[in-house]
């Protein structure tokens, strides 16, 4: 218990320190005028003018259009996998619906996987399709956030920056150097990085063990730095080759929050409003600690149905105890709970335990974090989502005190509020409508791994994860069917672009406005009071929207568990 608290506290301290460092670096990446040599070559090949100033429409257009051939290229590589040489395991190509799902999943930074990497993808696909899409989708998100913050920081202009410059710089100056360094640390700790596909061992008891491996470390580092989350192996970061030690587990978690947390600092720097950046960072942290406390206490308490069977779940010096079904021993409850809270906060979606086997309240935490979608959030988009709610909070407060809401010195008017509401509503609409559709089609019950309320949670989790671009799963659900592959693929695309594009439009609209000096009636937004109100609005809106769905799943399951009801 004490050691778990120490680990969590140190994690938060390290995360904050790294956020400041990366925040300063990202500010330079977005603000510096100088272009490096590889960048100038890249601009030459792309045939673009790095000095071109883009309106939000053109910026968004470049973003969306550049993602399209990336999906197609990924799809194509996955479809022709079996024609490409070098795979000693001769893994088959993906089917059309599965390849669509995979490509859409990785390009939207979701990393939902309807397949198990080790028996479905060759090492070439893991690099050229998966690692590639992981890097570019993260760069897309961070670039979008750069354009977004620039829009907020400027006045009376159409210009929010140059998409190609932002994208290229994020890849060359942030993602690749950090990932390369981290990958080497990972290999040192025991993550393989090889082009051979497997090793065959004869165990001590004389059984043949086929050990699948490949270029895991280079995928693993971008997977977390990029808040992507798709595993090299089916069991993701629970697999000892993806996460061999508690130290790699800690690095994974720090990597996941690195960029999302840093962007609050970058925001503060670029707007010369440091306190505002910290006010947002505080909102992230408050929600995060609340969720972490719930999942940790639920999992450490264990499964009450095991107690009458004489199973010892007490924490002691000899064992970590707790609900160990679907968990790895080296992480215990402390590092597992922290990972659950981090991966669904950062919308990474990698898992180091099977979320399907979490206790009902423990499983509620990842679902709720993805429903709120802005407890840190994914690279770039999480911060954008928080601003969405900040504007909504100001609007509600403005209504209460009878003033025109102002944010960063700009008046929030009808057009901005409509766009904000579009972004706020697209997310729950997509989750709830697809869940309702899935539970009303006949084939769904066959896909479930658990019946009763837990089965409903599996479906709800799937669409929440897809829409929030998280990618983690209640893994028991068999989603490799044309229905699930298609609807989950669509949910990922809607969830990505219907929250991102309206907010780029908001940034564009705000950039075009004049700044009005703060007056007596201006509500200060860099105070603990505002942070508190912001958290309140996030939880209130999320609660009102999603409580009925949660009541049908984890909440009723918790009540059933207390009365020892089995399914």
């Amino acid at each position: 218990m004490l050691n778990d608290l120490v680990q969590s506290a140190l994690f938060l301290v390290a995360m904050t320190a790294l956020a400041v460092l990366m925040g300063k670096w990202l500010t330079r990446v977005f603000m510096r005028k100088h272009h490096g040599l590889p960048e100038r070559w890249t601009y030459g090949l792309l045939g673009i003018d790095p000095a071109e100033a883009m309106s939000w429409k053109r910026y968004g257009m470049a973003l969306v259009l550049s993602n399209a051939p990336m999906i197609l290229l990924g799809y194509f590589l996955l479809r022709i996998q079996d024609w490409l040489p070098f795979d000693s395991l001769l893994r088959a190509a993906q089917t059309p619906d599965l390849a669509f799902n995979t490509a859409a999943s990785f390009v939207t930074n979701t990393n939902w996987q309807s397949y198990s990497g080790e028996n479905s993808l060759s090492n070439f696909s893991q690099m050229a399709a998966i690692t590639f899409l992981m890097v570019v989708s993260a760069a897309t998100g961070v670039a979008a956030c750069g354009g977004f913050i620039r829009g907020l920081s400027r006045r009376s202009t159409q210009d929010i920056g140059n998409y190609w410059v932002d994208f290229t710089r994020v890849v060359y100056r942030v993602l690749l150097p950090v990932c390369l360094l981290l990958a080497l640390v990972y290999v040192w700790q025991g993550i393989p990085q090889t082009l051979s596909s497997e090793a065959v061992a004869t165990t001590l008891e004389g059984v043949k063990q086929h050990i699948v491996m490949g270029p895991v470390a280079s995928l693993e580092s971008i997977k977390h730095i990029g808040t992507d989350g798709g595993g090299f192996f089916g069991m993701n970061s629970a697999h000892p080759f993806e996460n061999p030690t508690p130290f790699t587990n800690t690095l994974h978690m720090l990597s996941m929050l690195l960029i999302p947390a840093a962007l609050t600092y970058t925001f503060g720097s670029m707007l010369l409003r440091r306190r505002q950046g910290w006010a947002f960072f505080g909102a992230f942290v408050v929600m995060f600690i609340g969720f972490l406390a719930i999942v940790y206490s639920a999992e450490q308490h264990g499964n009450p149905l095991f107690t009458p069977l004489g199973v010892d779940q007490q924490q002691s010096t000899l064992q970590a105890g707790g609900n160990m079904e679907g968990k790895e021993l080296r992480f215990g409850i402390g590092q597992t709970s922290l990972f659950v809270a981090v991966t669904t906060a950062g919308t990474t979606g990698s898992v180091n335990a099977m979320h399907d086997s979490l206790t009902p309240l423990g499983g509620l935490v990842p679902i709720a974090e993805m429903m709120l979608n802005n407890v840190f959030g994914g690279d770039g988009v999480g911060f954008i989502n928080l601003i969405t709610f900040a504007i909504l909070t100001l609007f509600l407060l403005g209504m209460m005190i009878g003033r025109t809401p102002e944010f960063l010195g700009k008046k929030i008017e009808a057009r901005e509020m409509k766009l904000v509401m579009l972004a706020v509503l697209a997310h729950p609409l997509c989750i709830l409508a697809f869940t309702a559709l899935a539970v009303s089609v006949p084939g769904t019950t066959d896909a479930l791994n658990n019946s009763g309320p837990h089965g409903f949670s599996e479906v709800l989790y799937a669409y929440t994860s897809a829409t929030a671009n998280n990618g983690s799963a209640f893994g028991g659900l068999s989603t490799n069917t044309p229905f699930f592959n298609t609807t989950i693929g669509l949910a990922m695309l809607f969830g990505r672009f219907f929250t991102l594009l309206p907010m780029l439009a908001v940034a564009g609209a705000l950039a075009a406005k004049k700044t009005t000096p703060e007056g007596l009636g201006t509500l200060p937004t860099a105070t603990p009071l505002f942070t508190g109100l912001l958290v309140f609005v996030v939880v209130l809106v999320g609660g009102l929207t999603f409580f009925p769905a949660l009541a049908l799943g984890p909440i009723v399951e918790q009540l059933m568990l207390s009365s020892s009801h089995l399914f």
């Binding site: 399709a129 990958a183 099977m354 399907d356 791994n449 658990n450």
Partner: protein
């Protein structure tokens, strides 16, 4: 007055001139991030860490017997047994069927059973009974939770100290070793907290069993 119009000419559509960068960027960044980056990492990693980069394989008498970080199955009484594993594999009798195949390192898997799933409770009950019988424990004695629950990956290389100590008596009996020296070996082979605080104390089953075999090789059978 804005720079936008100066660059693209007045009234140009927002998508003008985007075709080339859109197409070239997909191919270019595939090459840079999908090929150059992982291949460069592979080259450096294999130079710096030749052992780990190839899967931390352990060899005995020149032949690989497993990986230091991947669990493997043990069923014989003279070895410590790992945690239950939910991995499956192709049925040798009929290739279209899958059967339970613990510690199949070619297809990781967890049970994904929810906490109120009847199958989970039945499994845990049966495993607890089998564990007590196997280790000669009393009918109502507590069983460490990691000994009766399947890990997330199905390849968990470790067990808890409580689990190892509960098996020590049986292993000692099967090997004709005093259980005290088996317990001392557990203490010696246990993995401490990393950096003094990260993770949980545990024992790597393969390393522990290798140490048992090495000890037996040193002392000729009595």
């Amino acid at each position: 007055m804005t720079a936008i119009n100066q660059t693209r000419g007045p009234g140009a559509p927002v998508s003008k001139g985007l075709l080339r960068p859109v197409l070239v960027s997909a191919v270019l960044f595939m090459g840079v991030t999908g090929l150059a980056y992982p291949l460069l990492t592979t080259g450096i990693a294999q130079m710096l860490f030749p052992d780990q980069s190839r899967g931390s394989l352990i060899e005995r008498d020149g032949a690989p017997i497993g990986s230091a970080v991947i669990g493997q199955d043990f069923t014989k009484p003279q070895y410590f047994h790992p945690r239950p594993s939910a991995t499956t594999g192709a049925d040798p009798a009929s290739s279209s069927q899958t059967i339970a195949q613990p510690y199949n390192a070619a297809l990781s898997a967890g049970s994904n059973y929810g906490p109120t799933n009847k199958k989970l409770i039945d499994q845990v009950r049966a495993r607890a009974q089998a564990y007590r019988t196997e280790n000669g424990l009393a009918a109502n004695s507590p069983v460490p939770v990691d000994a009766v629950t399947a890990s997330a990956s199905g390849l968990d290389p470790d067990i808890s100290l409580a689990n190892a100590l509960a098996q020590a008596e049986r292993v000692g009996r099967a090997r004709g070793m005093p259980s005290l020296s088996v317990k001392a070996l557990i203490g010696h082979e246990s993995t401490p907290l990393q950096l003094g605080m990260l993770g949980e104390p545990r024992v790597n089953v393969l390393k522990l069993n290798l140490a048992l075999d090495a000890l037996a090789a040193q002392r000729p059978a009595q």
